[in-house]
Subunit: 153 residues, 2 copies
Amino acid sequence: MNRVQNIIEHAEQHCKEHGARLTNKRKHVLSGLLASEIALSAYELTEYCKTEFDEAIPAMSVYRILEFLEEEHLVHKLKLANKYVACAHITCDHDHGVQQFLICNECQRVKEISIDKSTIKKLQRNVEDAGFHLLSPQLEMNCLCERCMVSAA
Amino acid sequence: MNRVQNIIEHAEQHCKEHGARLTNKRKHVLSGLLASEIALSAYELTEYCKTEFDEAIPAMSVYRILEFLEEEHLVHKLKLANKYVACAHITCDHDHGVQQFLICNECQRVKEISIDKSTIKKLQRNVEDAGFHLLSPQLEMNCLCERCMVSAA
DNA sequence: ATTGATATGTTATATCATAACATTTCTTGC
DNA sequence: GCAAGAAATGTTATGATATAACATATCAAT
């Protein structure tokens, strides 16, 4: 079984555990994100399903499916890019805390990392000192990935 | 002279110093942002100019004006909100380093803060360790402002 | 006053996203 | 198996943000 299928199985199991249904269309959208190295838009995902599975899922449905997948913590929405990525930890059974997203401005490649707790704490304190409350330390950062750094040089 | 006019004067001086022109329309757009407590979209700014100055600046022009104001470091674009804010440091003559933006998810109020250098350094190291390069530590963070925290409680 | 540069206007269109309502598919109790 | 309700998906329309391409107007310097 290949990597994507394996993750899909995990995801399906995860959904079943609380009575959610990972339908075929939802699987297809998720597998589009899993197969992609870069973040994708809802419209790009309809394209993917069309070419890969010959299945015409309208954009409206893709948005709903993405919403479902987000609620299941299988997908993250990147507000900075208005695009979506699969969660990098679907097959981890342990809780994996809050993630940060490094988004390559050139190629949309995304890396999901964990910034150490103390740094996050300090950040949070800075924010509180300013009288604001950080809703979620799930930061998104404008970056360049390794490949694009090399090709830019 | 009121606060907004005072800042506009500073901005004009700043532009003049390197031969850039702060035209009336540019002033109007900038003053819209200066007068606002919250981040505004380009379309909201055309509205503002229409009602406040009875001047119909088409959205296309507002985008160009915002681009100009960004290049002059008079305005920041918030990618997280797809909106714009005036720089909080137009009247400071000293260099004020890299800023972070706290965006209230409820009311779009924005606070521009400076996170201490050591925290930024640590963040940057985390990113580099992941093989990415932080393009700019100008973070944007989803927050709740004081007022909205109170009214939510 | 002319000319070239800069700024702004106009029109069309791309892209991301949601609202409202209709239809299909699934599930569950009978 | 089937009826009824719930869940998922389809359809249509539209809103919001943004950019491209080209036309016109305004400014600045000679």
